[in-house]
């Protein structure tokens, strides 16, 4: 093996290749031993031929560059090199690893791929390289080499017959199969993208489609390699680069949209999905995905309902068996819209939601989710007994569902079966020991049944649990996408179970209110020393809710000093939350400091005009301060927002009594009694939104 001139290099390479190819064709006779020997020989020839072929390609390129620089060219562009390898050499390159694979030696094939790919790229072998990069990735991703995998060790002996290899300082050398498959695919992506055709004109159509197909092949493999490890950010970046050559290609658009959802960029996902729906007019699942996005993350129930309706329309013409789901999603949309509208419209939305859930169940009688939502809808509409029956069916269909159990407990409490409700919650907590929502219900039930002492214990447990679950996230910046690690599962816990911004607060959350709070706290941080706590804000918000719960419990235990401390803790997290201000007002009420209490409740209502509890208390404060007219109008306002709240009616009754309107007062009291029989311990809307 000595250094050969260019011409003989090619000749020698080709002769090795021809010899190997001939060997394959000629049958080696019956002897098994002979056959094996022949195979080893052939393989060796193929390997020498492919090494030489790569070397030849490199030498050719080198020579062309030197000839250009020595003669000098006036063109600023490097001349295009159109030489390709001869077909025989190309075949030899292909055959070497394939032969090993056919013989069932994936690891040896892997080594062969590595040797070929670590040779410095020459333009002539570009297409083969791309193909090999994909094949190498495929080989690893299939899991056939799983246990025998050894990381590449690049210690090639230097020989005049071996191609030049990549070598640079600080080179990345993969240490395991995940690293290698990702690396190979990233390199492949860079190569595939370089050769895509952007022009849409007809003459380039074939070239464009071919390049597009090669590129999507790389992307599909990349999807497989990343998704399992939760590395969606990497994938999403790649798809973003792919957009420029994927005009009107639905596959890449859809994958990009999906990857945007998985990386949490919901607004962008919505935009891309609109395009995907246009490109794939027969796929109802796209509409459903967007609908869920709108409900769950974007707080756009109206748009979500529209998309669900569109999905239904598609299902009628191109059925994929998702019709039941469409009705369910329409129902959820109506239910969410009912939360945020005036009383008159609310009835309409509730009726629509009910109808949709019933239709969903007609199509899919065994769907626990539809049963659950029907139960929830009936509960919201005050039909407790019917609701109980449906929740029971939902539990028969799936007994491990925290939302259904949560709803069951609330329903039982509305039926005044508080002891049973507590039993349900305690049983549910055995299955879901980390569910703060259920603990919250438990604390309230205990407060109602056994007084503050027991509820206090639960409240303290919640605080401890919060510490266990979220402290790790807040102190260090653990990546949220670590799919397999425990932090991720916690993260999932609070995205799925705590998805509602105020999920553990007593009123349905109001997007407007939290926006106001956010804006106010920004102002506050700019003019005072207050700075928001680091880490995910939702986790802090939960902690605040726990402090407020503790404050409420201490209030019933007649411990104003502790109440003050709890409020202090909550204030340090979110000083401008209307929940905190409301609690402060309650403390002033307790101390009979009417003027301060009035100010607090007025502030709370200013932030969230829909906050029923503040309105109720404000009415009472006015009542105690003697301004009965104001009290009446405030309470009537509260009744308008939620006519099913017995405290409002009771307070209104008291005020009217003070005004001397005894008949109206007794009517109000009667309404209060009536409404109270169907009132749960916490509003039904406090059950977090669920899709599973």
């Amino acid at each position: 093996e000595k250094k050969l001139p260019l011409r003989s290099l090619r000749t020698v390479a080709e002769s090795f290749a021809i010899k190997a190819l001939c060997n394959v064709k000629v049958s080696a006779g019956p002897s098994k031993f002979k056959k094996a020997e022949r195979e080893v020989e052939t393989l060796h020839y193929f390997e020498v031929a492919s090494d030489l072929a790569l070397l030849y390609a490199q030498e050719v390129e080198k020579q062309q560059y030197t000839s250009i620089s020595s003669t000098g060219t006036h063109s600023p562009q490097p001349p295009a090199i159109h030489k390709t390898l001869s077909p025989i050499l190309e075949q030899a390159l292909h055959e070497a690893p394939l032969m090993l694979l056919r013989q069932g030696k994936p690891f040896a094939a892997l080594e062969r791929y590595r040797i070929i790919l670590s040779a410095v790229e020459a333009q002539t072998v570009h297409t083969i390289r791309l193909k090999f990069l994909c094949q190498l990735a495929e080989l690893i991703l299939r899991g056939t080499v799983c246990d025998d995998y050894k990381p590449p060790t690049m210690t090639m002996k230097d020989s005049a017959w071996k191609p030049k290899q990549y070598s640079s300082l600080n080179q990345f050398v993969p240490r395991n199969e995940c690293e290698e498959s990702l690396l190979v695919l990233l390199v492949a992506e860079a190569m595939a993208v370089r050769h895509t055709v952007l022009s849409q004109s007809v003459e380039f159509k074939e070239a464009r489609l071919n390049a597009y197909r090669d590129a999507t092949f790389v992307y599909d493999l990349l999807t497989l390699a990343t998704a399992r490890w939760g590395q969606f950010a990497l994938l999403q970046e790649s798809f973003e680069r792919a957009m420029k050559f994927s005009f009107e290609e639905s596959h890449v658009w859809r994958q990009h949209a999906l990857s945007l959802i998985t990386t949490g960029r919901y607004v962008d996902a919505l935009g891309i999905f609109k395009e995907v729906i246009r490109l794939e007019p027969n796929q109802s699942v796209n509409c459903l995905l967007v609908a869920r996005l709108c409900y769950e993350h974007l707080d756009l129930p109206f748009e979500g309902t529209d998309f669900s309706m569109e999905a239904k329309k598609i299902e009628f013409s191109h059925s994929t068996g998702l019709l039941g789901r469409c009705y369910l999603y329409i129902g959820i949309g109506h239910q969410l819209q009912a939360k945020n509208t005036s009383v008159k419209k609310e009835e309409q939305f509730n009726e629509n939601a009910l109808k949709s859930f019933i239709s969903a169940l007609e199509i899919e009688p065994h769907d626990h989710l539809s049963e659950y939502y029907l139960g929830l809808q009936l509960a919201i509409m005050g039909r407790i007994t019917e609701a109980l029956a449906h929740v029971q069916t939902a539990l028969d269909l799936r007994y491990e569902s925290s939302s259904t159990l949560h709803l069951l407990a609330l329903l039982l409490s509305a039926n005044s079966q508080h002891v049973d409700a507590l039993d349900v919650v305690e049983a549910a907590l055995l299955e879901y020991p980390d569910c703060l929502n259920l603990m919250y219900v438990k604390a309230y039930l205990e407060l109602h049944l056994n007084g503050g002492e027991k509820a206090l214990i639960t409240g303290k447990q919640m605080l401890e649990l919060w510490k266990n679950l979220y402290e790790g996230q807040i102190s260090s910046d653990v990546p949220e996408c670590d799919r397999k690690s425990d932090t991720r599962s916690v993260f999932q816990l609070y995205t799925s179970e705590m998805s509602d911004k105020d999920s553990s607060s007593l009123q349905a959350h109001s997007m407007a209110a939290s926006r106001v709070e956010h804006a106010l706290s920004e102002v506050a941080s700019s003019i005072s020393s207050f700075s928001p706590r680091p880490g995910p804000q939702r986790a802090w918000k939960l902690q605040m809710e726990v402090w407020l719960l503790l404050a409420e419990i201490y209030l019933t235990l007649d411990e104003p000093a502790y109440v003050q401390q709890c409020i202090q803790e909550a204030t340090q997290i979110f000083p401008l939350s209307h929940h905190v201000i409301h609690m402060r007002g309650l403390l002033h009420m307790y101390k009979k400091e009417w003027a301060e209490a009035k100010l607090c409740f007025q502030n709370a209502v200013a932030i969230n005009p829909q906050h029923i509890k503040s309105l109720q208390q404000l009415g009472l404060v006015y009542h105690y301060m003697g301004s009965q007219g104001l009290a009446e109008s405030t309470l009537r306002e509260a009744a308008k927002i939620d006519p099913k709240n017995h405290i409002t009616w009771y307070n209104l009754g008291k005020v009217l009594e003070a005004l001397g309107e005894y008949e109206d007062a007794s009517n109000c009291m009667a309404t209060a009694l009536n409404v109270e029989t169907t009132s749960p311990i916490l509003p039904f809307t406090s059950v977090p939104l669920c899709f599973e």
Binding site: S118, R142, V187, T216, L224, L258, R292, E400, S485
Partner: protein, 302 residues
């Protein structure tokens, strides 16, 4: 018939002395009859009349797993999908299955030194030259901010599997996490599992994702209560990470030409669509697209 085979298998192992286990383990690999009998048995353990049969089987599978013999470990591992199905379908019904799964899980989350078992890797950055490319030849679009940031984090920010917490008992909150971890382990060693056994695995996965849904036709409507399904076969909970592991199993199976694997693929995809899981859809679209191309790498003979 099958019961007898399994009984013999149980008794044979019990009668072994410690020195014989190694030879025994090499034979187990060829023990197709018993393997099949066990699959059939695990499909419906209630059919068998032998007392405590499932308990004994589970016990033996566990002693196989912890025997220290790699072959015996693989032998148990191949039943993970079946065991997962049994546990998900009947969370309270077969306590020994739950115990077995939990024991395997707890064994696997720590390594032999008692430290947490972590699989971690670096995310390569295209901006850093590697053994396969030279970053100076790249187009500028690839050396964007993100690629450079990733290069910087390459050695400090690892992608991890684990550390997973020890679990004392299975409940609704941790069940999916535990079975997903077990399926992940199954996937790690899937290359060692025989094609016939993979077929059982695929069938199990099909059942797991489609139980409680109408099986025939393209319609995904639920079954009527008076059809052949009885009320017991309610739909099983499958989280999206679990479906992702299933998809990897199926990808491997299709490549190796396992019967029914494409059918299973469609079942899993349908479930992913039904549940609207974006990550599952992402992967199943990718796999579907890959299948449309003829395989570029031939399959190694098993």
């Amino acid at each position: 018939m099958a019961d007898v085979l399994i009984l013999d298998w149980l008794e044979e192992y019990e009668s072994l002395t410690e020195s014989e286990i190694h030879t025994y383990s090499t034979e187990q690999e060829q023990n197709y009859e018993v393997m099949k009998a066990l699959y059939a048995f695990l499909e419906d353990p209630n059919k068998s009349k032998v007392e405590n049969f499932l308990d004994r089987v589970c016990q033996q599978l566990f002693s196989f797993y912890r025997s220290g013999e790699q072959n015996l470990k693989y032998f148990t591992m191949q039943y993970i999908p079946s065991l997962v199905l049994l546990n998900l379908a009947n969370t309270k019904g077969f306590p020994s299955v739950g115990t077995l799964l939990l024991s395997i899980y707890n064994l696997e989350v720590v390594d032999n030194k008692g430290q947490s078992h972590i699989i971690s890797f670096r995310v390569p950055s295209i901006a850093q030259s590697s053994i396969y490319h030279d970053s100076s030849n790249l187009e500028p679009a690839f050396i964007a901010e993100n690629a450079l940031r990733r290069w910087e984090e390459c050695n400090s920010k690892l992608v991890n599997w684990g550390p997973l917490p020890q679990v004392e008992n299975l409940n609704a909150q941790n069940r999916q996490r535990v079975v997903t971890a077990l399926m992940f382990l199954y996937n790690q060693h899937i290359g060692k599992i025989f094609v016939d056994c993979l077929e059982y695995g695929c069938r199990t996965i099909s059942r797991l994702v489609s139980q409680g849904f109408a099986s025939s036709g393209s319609s995904r409507a639920s079954v009527d209560s008076d059809s052949s399904y009885n009320s017991i076969s309610h739909r099983l909970i499958v989280s999206s990470p679990l479906l992702l592991e299933f998809l990897h199993v199926i990808y491997h199976c299709v490549v190796r030409g396992v019967n029914e694997s494409t059918h299973t693929f469609h079942e899993v995809t349908r479930r992913g669509i039904y549940e609207c899981y974006p990550d599952v859809l992402l992967v199943s679209h990718a796999i579907q697209n890959l299948f449309h191309r003829s395989p570029s790498v031939p399959v190694a003979a098993p």
